[in-house]
Symmetry: C2
Subunit: 536 residues, 2 copies
């Protein structure tokens, strides 16, 4: 039979979330930032002020609004106000260079920019390559960074009205956000999200993390990263509380966990490593905390450490192209019987698709599933509501990424007999030594088991005979000592000899702005002056 003609409210959009939480939990604290406390009523009023001010200043349906902001309340307000006004939010990584930021402003065609005064120098020198940018609004959050001349955020809010604007979304597949990938090589690509996808991913985060209205999320993950894995919207879905920190600093994070009763935080494994190695780290968590880690494969060691501290760890995996996390290493009932070490190994796997989401496959080059034996490498492909619409203004790259009807992650994994995937590498990070494929992650995980190691990265270094050979870059924990020979011997005890590194360099590791180790930089060093390695 014909579907009943629904009016607007059957549309799936995160705008529903704030509307409901403002109505149902008006007096509950939505956002904490230092001494600031905004209830859902106040948060909603500020969102409506921002949305109406944007409209008053000429924002039209589909216009892009860029945000160069740290984890502060204005960034959360922007996540609702921009789509409420009919616009598309373009969060920008503030660790990028001025040139990269200019490229993103230009490519997205943003007409508004919200910028924190700390990052104003990055955009103070914009030339006429961004002619579409008409309004810059300055947010003064930290007195250390004086406000430049121009429109101040709080004044801009005063131009708007706190009255509720009814949201109007024509189609749930309309764009809501463009997230530029940090892109280790080439120009950043604009990953485009729609209202429907944002709704489903946000609900998915709440289901998987079991957040309730009483939960408190500490922002240890940048909100510019996949819209904070859609938690920017998800927290409002369930009516929980955001705890903002401008900067991630482990000591401040530990204090907030204690003082604010934080129940959840998210971060890349480097964030967890920094937390547990901080002098203020407690022996055990004083109250139940769920930690989600994603962005890079965590080692079993760090999982074991936080589990022993009493945290509930969820290992998630995804990409900017999948609204952040797409898989979760779902806990199985019989794992309780295992040692922390064995649990750590199981939890270091990337797992299975979210309950709200689509299937996860590991396929060969002919799109045939690899055997579920935990050994044969293949590429992870994804599909459905948790996958982006495509790359902004780039139909060719979009078509390539979706060849065969599935999004190609570029990540190399095995499928275990229990249906859990485990990443072995980015395609380009696989080491090919004497015709054997070596997973750099597998070697790294062995190195992480050494108690003196803080961080490491393994790459394929050039080798006369084998083509490539594993080489490790290692940062030791403070006050620890270890020689190359000792660590190589340790590896050879724990892994096939051909996989063990043949050389090791000690020192700090180059990282991207989101905390990912930049293996390509290490590789470039090693391969300088040689024939360029062909990358998959």
């Amino acid at each position: 039979m014909e579907a009943h003609k629904h009016v607007y409210s059957n549309i799936l959009t995160p705008l529903l979330f704030l509307e409901r939480s403002a109505a149902v939990f008006p007096d509950r604290v939505a956002v904490v930032h230092g001494d600031q406390r905004h209830t859902y009523r106040e948060f909603n009023e500020r969102v409506n002020r921002l949305a109406s001010a944007l409209k008053l200043n000429g924002l039209k349906k589909g216009d892009r609004v860029a945000c160069l902001l740290p984890n502060i309340p204005a960034m959360l307000e922007a996540h609702f106000a921009i789509p409420l006004a009919g616009g598309i939010i373009v969060p920008i990584n503030y660790r990028l260079s001025a040139q990269e930021i200019q490229y993103i402003l230009e490519h997205s065609g943003a007409s508004f920019l919200l910028v924190d005064t700390e990052f104003h120098p990055l955009v103070s020198d914009l030339d006429d390559t961004v002619p579409e940018l008409k309004h810059i609004i300055h947010i003064s959050d930290d007195p250390a960074y004086p406000a430049p001349d121009g429109t101040a955020y709080e004044d801009f809010l005063q131009e708007g009205s706190p009255d509720t604007i009814p949201w109007v979304v024509g189609d749930e597949y309309d764009d809501i956000a463009i997230n530029y990938t940090s892109g280790t090589t080439g120009k950043p690509k604009g990953v485009t999200y729609c209202h429907r996808g944002a709704y489903i991913n946000a609900v998915g985060e709440i289901v998987e993390t079991e957040m309730t209205p009483d939960s408190k999320l500490l922002w240890t993950l940048p909100m510019f990263h996949c819209n904070g894995w859609c938690f920017t919207w998800g927290v409002a879905f369930i009516g929980a509380t955001h705890v903002c920190h401008r900067k991630f600093e482990p000591g401040a994070a530990w204090r907030a966990i204690e003082a604010e009763g934080v129940t959840h935080f998210n971060g890349a494994p480097v964030v967890l490593i920094a937390m547990v190695n901080h002098p203020d780290a407690p022996e055990r968590f004083a109250h139940p905390v769920t930690i989600c880690t994603a962005g890079a494969p965590p080692s079993p060691s760090i999982i074991q450490t936080v589990t022993e501290m009493g945290a509930h760890i969820l290992h998630l995996y995804g990409l900017t192209e999948t609204y952040g996390p797409y898989t979760v290493c779902t806990w199985q009932p019989d794992w309780h019987k295992l040692s922390f070490e064995a649990q750590g190994k199981l939890l270091a796997r990337q797992g299975v698709g979210y309950a709200v989401g689509g299937p996860t496959r590991v396929v060969d080059e002919h799109m045939k599933d690899v055997p579920a034996n935990g050994e044969i490498l293949g590429e992870v492909v994804m599909q459905g509501n948790m996958v982006m619409k495509g790359y902004w203004k780039d139909p060719e790259t979009t078509a390539t990424a979706f060849r065969g009807g599935w999004f190609h992650s570029g990540d190399v994994a095995v499928m275990h007999p229990d249906g859990y995937i485990e990443l072995r590498d980015r395609s380009k990070d696989v080491i090919i030594s004497g015709g054997e494929n070596i997973s750099s992650i597998e070697v790294e995980q062995v190195i992480y088991r050494h108690p003196a190691v803080l961080e490491c990265a393994v790459i394929g270094a050039p080798h006369e005979k084998w083509g490539e050979t594993p080489k490790a870059y290692v940062t030791l924990k403070k006050g620890q000592e270890l020689t190359q020979d000792e660590l190589i011997a340790f590896c050879r005890e724990n892994i096939a000899h051909f996989k063990a590194p043949t050389s090791i360099e000690f020192g700090p590791l180059p990282k991207t702005s989101t905390g990912k180790i930049q293996k390509f930089k290490l590789r470039d060093e090693d391969w300088a002056g040689r024939e360029k390695r062909i990358q998959g």
Copy 2:
């Protein structure tokens, strides 16, 4: 930008849930029924057997399959297998008469019927008015009811294959179920659900009830009732466990809660009343249990009672037309400080729309919202993904129900200042006495506060001077005594005098098959021989 052309898996359908739980939790128990235990692997195999057997026997896309089944595993299997085969499930209330059942089979045009041997007598005499019905499959669950000649369910399953059939749903708005309303007057109407609505409602149940993969749901609610409020599908979404009981019997329910570690059960207030008044009822729940009640407004007294027993009660409200529950009386943080009595009063309100769902309004006859003052009566109207597509083969009634773009519930409510709705009556149950509107529910809730009262119903009885006057029908608890005068005096102490009943009859109350008290029968008695009351 153009949406990426998704292939099948972006479709929202509960079929995703079983596919995932069978993959992720193959060895977890999906269904418990007496000594039977089916893991998700086995459950999935049985579902695929049933789906493929239906297809082998001629089921085509969009065909209807009726189910006249109690809360047994076959009913759960049918909920996945029928849509998996491309069909539409038509659950039938087995407490209806043979004539009513025949009408539903005829009106839905069902080509298959799954029937429990206990209810075979209801369909043993089908005449040729149901020519479309070609296959009857008999399920022998209880040895007390011998199997008639014909196709036995387990043999039928053997015709199919346990291999996974990939689900194919052309459009997420395709029909998945038709639920006939029990209809106190007139012919039953076929309320039609789609895949998308079933997905969203099922996810909504899990979010609101905070079920996790470790949860165990005891089936104290008939699965034929709005597909068991979509928990038939929702439990598979989260990978939890169903505990089946053929019949609701309070003693057996208490034993199962203890023996199976039941964490959740659902039921109309009469179910809760029967549970807490049973001799086996414990002083307190031995472990955390969440009870959802809906289907009729619960009295504050019963809410207070189960809360004092340590249960977490969720008061839900909805209709068959809203896939079951649509609102939830969401707990507010500051309610913890209140007495159980005060909590009971707040929790007896129907509350606010689900987090996944649409808005709830209380409107006057011009679709204008009534003031949120807890006093002015209006009609509850709903909208969005949690509302049915329409009535099967009845576009006129559908159009009337959706006049003004909103589904009209026929329920009369007030809107409280905190945005929570509270039902006052079905439109037709409002008592109009001397020009004053009296909510029969308000009067009933006062009567329920008397410790001797088990159940009651208040109607408008004819009155020479006032037109109508409140009259109460009351069932006392076992061994209790109470006179009409004593109870009237009790009411007048607790409510405006004009609202207090002027006469009371003691005895059992007539009920529908889903446990709702049939006020129209009581009214018919009182109004027999008089001019028929006009019903709104």
